[in-house]
């Protein structure tokens, strides 16, 4: 079916094309009818072939000259008329056609058609990501660089342009369209059979809600992950079985609580959920004492609650007096001081006790203010621990340069959480288990982890011992062979070497085995969470997929697969079966 825009353009091209045909045909006819003379002065007439040739090069201003014979004056008069009409007619029509092709509606139609073609070419499961803001960008980067396919829809043309110039490992098609419109979402691939999930991370809660409703109605079986800033929207989304709602403030506060209560756990979380192969974040330790909290907005309230639960003495700084009244209303008995001020000037900070404080939280929603607070505070207290809230991606380098101990970026935290949900849900189970553990246990885990990885953020992955994901191990286990964890952690290149990899957890039925021992025997259906360097992932994968590699690392006798190989080694099919036992 022809596209409506193309049809419109074709209709508008009628007039210029008819102009060309008419002018050319009259000019050609004239050249044929008007008599001329050949080189010997004999009467001669152009035929249609020569006339069309002549008019074509004249009208397009190529102008080869008077060929085949010099023209007579009668012919020249006609050529003069021809030139004025055909050259202008030609340019008029040409410019009209070019401008039609460049109209926004036609360009848009071409872009949409390209998008659709790219979507049809996707032959593996993909995620539909609505909104390509900071969270969306972070999310797409993480997923696309792990060779997961993503499709992006955003109503901001600049965002789609940014996407076009990104260089991801797998191509990410982007559509400039309104995700609130169900037909646009459908066009973007919502009802595509390979669509594995939809992630709504636009900056508007109502838009995200609409996306969740649309996808639950049009493609009910795929998971929906939604970012939501308000609790009432969250409740609304949960009421119709939205799979995951993620509140950036709650997620941020959770991270903050983790950093405060157990820096080691925070570090573990950072390492395991971070973007692989980036620099590892350094461990932090917080001393107990006085804290200064700058910013008492939606996030600041949550952070204060956490600090209060830890029984720390806190001074709050915020510019808005109304928040002070609200604070005293919600905590009537609390002795915490609330200072009205920006927190960026030395006076306010000194009044808040920055000189004897152990920690500072720069948690306002303005990056310049946060940076200014950090720099002023550092001048008055050299050994201050600083937790900084970074609001915009572009300021990343500034925050790193500010030497804040912990830098938290809400959209990055949300992106991380979604990525882990999609990519490695077992890791979330593992982290959940870690919350229950003692600090000592976590410290031991962190140190054994740092032993098996390099200086870069490790890769985390899950292998499921089933027929599809691990055919080699599955078939060996089904034949009754005993395989221990230690055996699959040997290098397929050189089996005496152990690969840089740490099994974090085995999920067996509903039981979670944390940090399993190397002598742990594997069972069919186990889900194993590993963490290690990049090569380790491919090595383990190889053992899982290829029976010969598995036989090699287990020092098991290998048998040739081909008929000739079997005959040469004297292994008949019968004998081979007994070997496999």
């Amino acid at each position: 079916m022809i596209n409506p825009a193309t049809s419109l353009i074709l209709r508008q091209m009628r007039a210029p094309l008819i102009v060309i045909v008419t002018v050319f045909s009259i000019a050609t006819l004239g050249m044929v009818i008007i008599p001329g003379v050949d080189e010997n002065g004999q009467p001669w007439r152009m035929d249609f072939f020569h006339a069309l040739y002549f008019v074509s090069f004249t009208a397009t201003t190529i102008g080869f000259g008077e060929i085949p014979y010099t023209l007579t004056d009668a012919q020249r008069i006609w050529v003069l008329i021809t030139i004025f009409f055909s050259v202008f007619g030609w340019f008029y029509a040409l410019s009209k056609i070019v401008s039609l092709v460049q109209t926004p509606i036609f360009k848009k139609a071409v872009i949409h058609a390209n998008f659709r073609r790219n979507l049809e070419q996707i032959n593996q499961g993909f995620y539909l990501i609505c909104g390509y803001g900071e969270t969306g960008q972070d999310l797409v980067e993480g997923l696309a660089n792990k060779e997961k396919r993503c499709v992006v829809i955003d109503n901001n043309p600049d965002a789609i342009e940014t996407l076009e110039i990104q260089d991801y490992l797998s191509y990410v098609p982007g559509l400039e369209a309104d995700a609130k419109n169900p037909s646009q979402l459908e066009y973007a691939g919502l009802t595509h059979p390979l669509c594995q999930g939809i992630i709504a991370v636009t900056d508007s809660d109502s838009c995200n809600l609409k996306i969740a409703i649309t996808s639950k109605l049009l493609h009910p079986h795929i998971p929906v992950i939604v970012r939501s800033e308000h609790h009432d929207y969250e409740e609304n989304m949960k009421s119709f079985d939205t799979d995951h709602t993620i509140n950036p403030y709650d997620t941020f506060a959770l991270s903050f609580a983790m950093a405060m209560k157990s820096p080691a756990l925070y570090l573990l979380n950072e390492w395991l959920t971070g973007v692989p192969d980036t620099t590892l974040s350094a461990p932090v330790v917080f001393r107990s004492g006085h804290w200064v909290l700058c910013g008492y907005g939606r996030l600041g309230k949550r952070l204060f609650e956490i600090l209060r639960q830890l029984n720390l003495s806190v001074t709050i700084i915020d510019t808005i007096p109304a928040l002070k009244d609200e604070f005293h209303l919600s905590y009537p008995d609390d002795k915490t001081r609330f200072i009205i001020g920006t927190g960026t000037d030395a006076d306010t900070l000194i009044k808040a006790g920055i000189e004897y404080a152990v920690g500072l939280v720069a948690g306002s929603d303005n990056d310049s203010n946060n940076l200014s607070t950090i720099m002023t505070a550092q001048m008055h207290n050299k050994i201050l621990s600083i937790i900084a809230r970074q609001n915009e991606m572009i300021n990343k380098d500034l925050f790193i340069a500010s030497k804040a101990d912990v830098i938290m970026h809400p959209s990055e935290i949300v992106a991380r959480r979604i990525r882990t949900l999609l990519d490695n849900p077992l890791l979330l189970d593992f982290l959940q288990e870690c919350y229950q553990q003692t600090n000592e246990w976590i410290n031991i885990t962190v140190s054994s982890l740092s032993g098996s990885i390099n200086e870069l953020t490790p890769h985390c992955w899950t292998n499921t011992l089933n027929e599809v994901d691990a055919p080699a191990v599955h078939s060996a286990l089904s034949k009754g062979r005993k395989i221990t964890l230690k055996q699959i952690l040997k290098s397929p290149m050189q089996r005496h070497q152990i690969i840089c990899c740490l099994p974090l957890m085995i999920q067996r039925k509903s039981e979670n085995i944390l940090l399993p021992d190397n002598s742990e025997a594997l069972e069919v259906g186990d889900k194993i969470l590993f963490c290690g360097i990049r090569q380790a992932e491919t090595h383990v994968e190889q053992c899982m997929l290829d029976i010969h590699t598995l036989n090699y690392v287990m020092s098991f006798k290998n048998t040739p697969d081909s008929f000739l190989g079997r005959v040469l080694t004297g292994n008949t099919r019968q004998k081979r079966r007994t070997d496999d036992r």
Binding site: S7, I9, M13, R14, I18, T22, S25, L29, F48, F49
Partner: protein
């Protein structure tokens, strides 16, 4: 009455009549087939084709297709004529003429279908 419809139908019927005029006559005899007439048929056919651009209906698609077929046939006939006269040494022989005329005969058929479709559409209109 709609002027646009008149012009549209005019060009389509003119394309058919001119085409028939060129086609009519002894197949081999160059005297029966006028080169000016072939030229006029091609020009009118081109205009008729352009006028059918951009119609999204099923009938519009059929009309455009028949016109394109007629154009292909007629332009091939013109190319055969030009090649025979200017490239080859034999000139326009009886056999060449037969080829040209039969090609234009195909175009007549396509143009007839066009006009029939047009008439059908007109008769289906409720007044």
């Amino acid at each position: 009455m709609n002027l646009e419809k008149v012009i549209f139908s005019f060009f389509m019927i003119l394309a058919l009549t001119l085409n028939f005029g060129f086609f009519y006559g002894d197949v081999h005899n160059p005297d029966h087939h006028n080169v000016y007439e072939l030229y006029a048929v091609i020009v009118i056919n081109l205009i008729a084709t352009i006028m059918k651009f951009g119609d999204r209906s099923q009938l519009g698609a059929m009309l455009l297709a028949t016109s394109l077929v007629a154009n292909v046939q007629l332009i091939s006939a013109a190319i055969v004529w030009a090649v025979a006269e200017h490239v080859g040494t034999a000139g326009v022989t009886e056999a060449t003429m037969a080829t040209i005329v039969s090609l234009s005969g195909g175009a007549v058929l396509a143009n007839i279908i066009s006009v029939v479709l047009l008439t059908l559409e007109a008769s289906m209109l409720r007044h």
